[in-house]
C-alpha cells in the first residue's frame, strides 16, 4: 500500500496517535469514574467489578489504556515543546523518545499486573 507523502512522516503519525489516544481516553473516562464511584456502594460492589477485570482480555485492554495514557502525556509534552520552545526538526527524536517511554510504562504495568 502506498502512503501519501504528507502522511509518511513521524509527525503525522504522532498527531494521529495524540488525537486517537485523547479520544479513546475521553470515552473511557466516564466508565472509569463510574467504577471508582462504586466505592459509595461499599467495598464489595467495587471488589465485584475489580474481580471482573482479572479476565485476561480486560487485563490486555488495561495495558493498552496505560500505554495510551502515557502516549497522550508524552505526545502532549512534545506538542507543547514544539509550540513554546522550538520548531526544529529535532523533535522527531521527541516522537521516538515519547513512544519509547509510553511502551516502557505499559511494560512496567504489564509485569506488575501479571
Amino acid at each position: 500500500m502506498k502512503i501519501a507523502g504528507h502522511r509518511n512522516h513521524a509527525h503525522y503519525w504522532a498527531f494521529i496517535l495524540h488525537r486517537a489516544s485523547g479520544l479513546l481516553l475521553a470515552i473511557f473516562l466516564p466508565a472509569h469514574f463510574y467504577v471508582l464511584g462504586l466505592a459509595i456502594e461499599g467495598e464489595a460492589a467495587m471488589d465485584g467489578f475489580i474481580r471482573w477485570t482479572d479476565a485476561p482480555l480486560v487485563k490486555g485492554a488495561e495495558v493498552i489504556l496505560v500505554i495510551l495514557l502515557a502516549a497522550h502525556l508524552t505526545g502532549g509534552l512534545r506538542l507543547m515543546a514544539l509550540e513554546f520552545i522550538s520548531t526544529s526538526e529535532s523533535s522527531k527524536t521527541a516522537v521516538a523518545v515519547g513512544a519509547g517511554i509510553s511502551l516502557a510504562v505499559g511494560l512496567a504495568f504489564l509485569f506488575n499486573v501479571v
Partner: protein
C-alpha cells in the same frame, strides 16, 4: 465575543490544563504501577485514599483539569474532522465537561468517605 477570541481562549485553557495534567498523569501512572504490584483490590484503593486530604486535593485538581482539557479536545476533533456545526460542538463540549465534573467528583468524594468493611 469574536470567533478568534473564543479560539484563543480555548487554546490557552487547553494548554494550561495540559500543564497541570502533565504533573497529575505522571503521579497517576506511578501510583497505578505501584498499586497493582500486589494485586488491585477495593480495600487497597480505599485504604490509600479514604480520609486522606492530600489525595482529595490531588484528585480534585485532576478532575477539574480533565473537565477543562478533554472537552476542548473533543470539540477540536469535532470541529476539524466532522461536519458538526459550531453551536453543537460547543454544546457537546459543555455537556461533556459537566458529565466529567459530576462523575469525577462523585468518585473522588465517594472514595474519600468510603470505609473498609470487615
Amino acid at each position: 465575543m469574536s470567533n478568534a477570541r473564543v479560539e484563543t481562549k480555548l487554546w490557552v485553557w487547553q494548554r494550561l490544563s495540559a500543564a497541570v495534567l502533565a504533573v497529575c498523569v505522571i503521579i497517576h501512572l506511578v501510583v497505578i504501577v505501584y498499586a497493582v504490584q500486589d494485586g488491585l483490590s477495593a480495600a487497597e484503593i480505599i485504604s490509600r485514599v479514604s480520609g486522606n486530604f492530600l489525595w482529595l486535593a490531588f484528585y480534585s485538581v485532576f478532575v477539574i483539569a480533565i473537565a477543562v482539557h478533554a472537552p476542548i479536545g473533543i470539540r477540536t476533533i469535532l470541529k476539524e474532522m466532522t461536519s458538526v456545526g459550531p453551536g453543537a460542538t460547543h454544546m457537546i463540549m459543555a455537556t461533556f465537561s459537566l458529565i466529567i465534573l459530576a462523575m469525577g467528583f462523585r468518585a473522588v468524594i465517594g472514595l474519600f468517605n468510603a470505609s473498609i468493611i470487615g
